[in-house]
């Protein structure tokens, strides 16, 4: 046995360099699947619990390792990407060049559809990226199958359409029209008229909660449960009219951008916003969320795009001199910003947590086109652009998730699978209370509010350290006469005393002293007054 294990160790030691590289790579991947750090076993006092937790941790580690290996070796597709050689920059490569390089199937995804009369167009993709719904301002609503580029249904509602959004699958979609929002079926029939919410400006669907969130023209936020039609919540935002609304896919929190420059975040169970973030001095024109939920991009009318870290609510990056009418994050974290007839795509070039978003690709459309909405197509390297003259689709290599999961979103879904999925969606429908800023809190313990008192030993040790630090401070040389050694030692002593004074141990001493004084006083009292003294 012993020999064997030694052999193993030797074997590990002489791993060829490329295998070592693979090991490092796998370890980096494992981190993602571990979903946070392990439990600190040292702090557990209960032995039984410790063994239990230890075995669970081992199990988690194993499963993370397996998942990392699967990701490394078994996933069918590798992601897209754009590599340049030499001094060539990625943002100099235009769509024409790309379409020449890629395969025929992909090059078909680059097109412009010109519909000059009914624009500007809003668009939305279904969760699997298979279907797209388009809503023209002048009442043109169209449902398309993006895989075989087929028009499924188009209708003309003959009134203003402000926004369109898919509901839980491609069978239903909602449109915000002049007076009310409507729900339409796949065949274009009107299923519902949502009168309660008034003239809706923006519509967003929360997939896990099956809630339709909307903000109307007078700045009211509504949440409606689409499984039974109940209005879950309606709030007055109190910040005026807005048409900037986005859902954080990570936690289901709805963000609204206001004309005062603030971004507010809402959940259906609280009347007041969870967060009010002052992002811009002027009006906020667009908000977008990274799919991992930690990054938010906002753009203001003062020609700035800002990227925020939502864990610390701090600014990570500002991009100056660029006004974005619409922003969109892709599944792999690329950020697209559109204004006028110009689209810029930024990518996180650092790859780690520093979020160095820099230029990745540019795309200029025909002069005069006004971009209305950008949206990356899920599971594809495609950016959909809705503009005043129809809609376009361009190729952005490396934007989409290359491997879909059949149980999450399947672009090749059959009708039977879709029906089964619908049932599962209903079973897994989350109650509105699960919308919170940190969704991992569910099932976790609330940390105790009370601060633990430091023990005496700890206080002593801290005190020692502070005194040592005070002693080791080098005093500056003063002007002549003030630099006497006696003064210097006095000063040093003072500093040490100050360091000592900051610790609560002194209070304890004081209390003891006080009592002693009382006791002594009792001894000094005249006999007639002694009976009033505190008894021992």
């Amino acid at each position: 046995m012993k020999l064997n294990s030694e052999d193993n160790i030797l074997m590990e030691k002489v791993l060829p360099p490329d295998e070592q590289e693979i090991d490092v790579e796998l370890e980096a991947k494992e981190k993602k699947y571990l979903r946070g750090g392990a439990v600190n076993l040292e702090s557990l006092k209960d032995k039984k619990l410790k063994t239990k937790v230890a075995s669970r941790e081992k199990f988690f580690g194993k499963s993370a390792k397996t998942a990392a290996k699967i990701e490394k070796w078994l996933l069918p597709n590798k992601g897209g990407g754009l590599e340049t050689d030499g001094l060539e920059k990625t943002w100099h490569i235009d769509q024409l060049k790309i379409s020449k390089e890629v395969d025929i199937l992909s090059s078909r995804k680059l097109y412009d559809v010109v519909l000059p009369d009914l624009g500007p167009y809003k668009l939305d993709f279904s969760a699997s990226g298979r279907h797209m719904v388009l809503g023209g301002r002048k009442g043109h609503i169209a449902l398309l199958d993006m895989m075989d580029l087929k028009l499924i249904k188009e209708i003309q509602v003959r009134e203003t359409v402000r926004d369109v959004a898919f509901l839980h699958n491609d069978q239903l979609f909602a449109a915000a029209q002049k007076k009310y929002a409507y729900i339409y079926g796949r065949d274009g029939t009107e299923v519902h008229c949502l009168k309660e919410r008034g003239p809706v400006a923006r519509l967003r669907f929360l997939k896990n909660h099956l809630l339709l969130a909307s903000v109307n023209k007078i700045g009211q936020l509504h949440y409606q449960d689409l499984t039974h039609g109940e209005m879950v919540a309606s709030f007055r935002t109190g910040k005026g009219r807005t048409d900037v609304m986005e859902v954080n896919p990570y936690n289901g929190v709805v963000a609204l951008g206001h004309s005062g420059g603030t971004v507010t975040m809402w959940k259906p169970t609280s009347q007041v916003p969870l967060v009010q973030l002052h992002c811009h001095p002027g009006p906020v024109s667009s908000v977008a969320f990274h799919p991992n939920g930690h990054l938010m991009a906002t753009s203001g009318k003062e020609r700035k795009v800002k990227i925020w870290d939502l864990r610390k609510f701090g600014e990570v990056k500002t991009i100056d001199g660029f006004h974005a009418k619409t922003l969109s994050f892709s599944q792999k974290g690329l950020l697209a910003a559109g204004t006028g007839s110009f689209v810029q795509v930024l990518s996180d070039s650092s790859g780690d947590s520093s979020h160095k978003y820099t230029r990745y690709m540019n795309h200029s459309m025909v002069k005069g086109y006004q971009i209305e909405k950008l949206m990356f197509r899920p599971y594809e390297d495609v950016l959909g652009i809705g503009h005043s003259m129809g809609w376009s689709s361009i190729l952005i290599p490396g934007s989409g998730e290359p491997n879909f999961d059949s149980w999450v979103a399947n672009p090749f879904e059959t009708s039977k699978q879709r029906r089964e999925k619908e049932v599962h969606m209903l079973l897994d429908k989350l109650p509105p209370e699960t919308i919170m800023l940190d969704p991992s809190q569910i099932g976790a313990m609330r940390p105790s509010r009370r601060k633990e008192k430091p023990t005496r030993g700890e206080i002593e040790a801290e005190k020692e350290v502070a005194i040592e630090a005070a002693k080791s401070i080098e005093l500056k040389n003063k002007t002549k006469g003030r630099n006497k050694p006696s003064k210097r030692t006095k000063k040093k002593k003072e500093m040490v005393e100050n360091a000592k004074r900051t610790f609560p141990e002194q209070e304890h001493n004081k209390a003891v002293k006080k009592r002693r004084i009382g006791e002594d006083a009792a001894a000094e009292l005249p006999t007639s007054l002694k009976r009033f003294a505190r008894k021992k």
Partner: protein, 452 residues
């Protein structure tokens, strides 16, 4: 310049022929599944609710005896067999698959008090209040006479008459001996008409006897002097004895940890002991509101079943203080005997209302052959339920059990009594000098003394 974009041809991702299975792709990336904890919690909640909806444990009431069932025995060699003896002297062999009587064993004049089957499954030993021990050859059902009529009766292969009435019998594991409980403990051999050995400690009669599954010469008895005694047949004298505050009605050894035994007590609790250290119970299993009449361990050793005078059957985890499940019906009267089936899937109870009842051991378990997909679903549900069992809503649903009104009321009374006693004790302790009032833990409280 190198460009690569995602491109999926439909042929690669869909099936070729209509007979093929649909292709399924996985990507375990956590960012594709937002709010996975909330979803898991919801699934745990659903699983707990579904469990309660599907909880239909009662399978069948096997009717045939003319008087209350007093004892049962399972055939260790034959999964479907269960023997039951009644108060009128009737013994029946039931087939659990068809839920019918296979044959009858008439002969006892008074109540049958004990039944046991030898380890090879060929000999049935019965004893009763008519002072006789009867040995029967167990009929082997062949494929031809599968549909045998229920009125098949069998003659005993031996009848041994002895001096006193019997209260119980148990067969040695893998040996030739069996022990009867009566005025004293008698050890018998199959071929001898008189006991080979008689053991007694004190003058009180022995109520129940159980051989140890691991050590064939070790046996535990309980007697009407409220004692639990462990005998070693090789020493021809008792090894250990404790006296408790109330009588123990039945004993069961844990088949997987054969040093541990659990005693079904008259006070409504069961006490798990380490056989080597009887002065303190390892665990007290409380929940019954009346005397526990019989106890039997699951072959897995992780659970045991108890039948009680309060007309209910409960299933306890071997190391848990409270029951996992309570089974009751409107028609079931006081339960005198219970058995866990040899595959741990069913439990059988015999009660005063002349019926032998068959229950599932897991109330909501899906029986029959499961598809691998179903199996996986059940496993997943079980694990998420386990993961979120501490959350209040899941806990409430899992813990909820409907109990009959009399038991519910009795539980309330017992709880009020215990609470007031606890309060009183706490006050007494608080107002006494420190150290004068010693709280004895519940595990020791009901044990009076240990006798060597």
């Amino acid at each position: 310049m190198k460009v690569k974009v995602i491109s999926r041809s439909v042929d690669e991702f869909t099936r070729e022929r209509s007979q093929d299975l649909q292709r399924v792709f996985h990507n375990f990336d956590p960012s594709l599944r937002p709010m996975e904890k909330a979803v898991e919690y919801k699934r745990a909640l659903n699983a707990a609710k579904l469990d309660k909806i599907h909880a239909k444990p009662f399978m069948h009431a096997m009717d045939g005896h003319r008087d209350g069932i007093s004892c049962m025995a399972k055939n260790p060699n034959y999964l479907k067999d269960i023997f039951s003896g009644s108060m009128d002297g009737d013994i029946r062999l039931w087939d659990l698959a068809t839920r019918r009587t296979v044959c009858e064993f008439p002969g006892h004049q008074g109540a049958v008090r004990g039944l046991t089957v030898s380890t090879d499954g060929n000999v049935l030993v019965s004893c009763g209040t008519d002072c006789t021990v009867r040995l029967w050859n167990v009929p082997r059902p062949s494929l031809q006479d599968f549909n045998i009529s229920s009125e098949n009766s069998i003659e005993p292969s031996a009848v041994y008459v002895w001096k006193n009435a019997f209260w119980g019998v148990d067969h040695q594991y893998g040996g030739e001996l069996f022990a009867t409980a009566g005025a004293q403990l008698d050890i018998w051999n199959h071929n001898r008409s008189q006991p080979v050995q008689s053991l007694q400690w004190g003058t009180d009669s022995v109520i129940s006897v159980r051989f140890n599954p691991g050590e064939p010469d070790l046996l535990a008895t309980s007697a009407s002097d409220r004692s639990i005694t462990i005998y070693d047949l090789r020493m021809s004298s008792a090894a250990k004895k404790i006296i408790m505050m109330t009588k123990t009605n039945s004993i069961a050894w844990n088949p997987m940890e054969p040093m541990n035994l659990t005693a079904a007590n008259e006070d409504g609790s069961c006490y798990s002991f380490d056989g080597r250290k009887l002065d303190e119970a390892k665990c007290v299993h409380k929940d019954h509101v009346s005397a526990v009449m019989d106890i039997d361990y699951s072959p897995t050793g992780r659970e045991f079943i108890t039948g009680s005078y309060d007309r209910s059957v409960r299933i306890f985890p071997y190391n848990g203080g409270h029951s996992r499940e309570i089974y009751h019906t409107k028609r079931m009267q006081r339960v005198f005997c219970v058995k866990y089936s040899c595959d741990a899937t069913y439990v059988i109870s015999g009660s005063d209302d002349t019926n032998v009842r068959l229950w599932k051991s897991k109330a909501s378990e899906q029986l029959g052959v499961l598809l691998p997909r179903e199996q996986r679903k059940h496993e997943y549900d079980e694990s998420v339920k386990n993961r979120y069992k501490h959350l209040p809503e899941v806990k409430r649903i899992v813990r909820h059990k409907h109990v009959p009104k009399p038991i519910f009321k009795a539980i309330g009374i017992i709880r009020a009594k215990n609470d007031s006693k606890r309060r009183k004790d706490a006050r007494r302790k608080a107002h006494s000098a420190p150290g004068t009032v010693i709280t004895v833990p519940l595990r020791k409280r009901r044990i009076i003394k240990e006798v060597e």
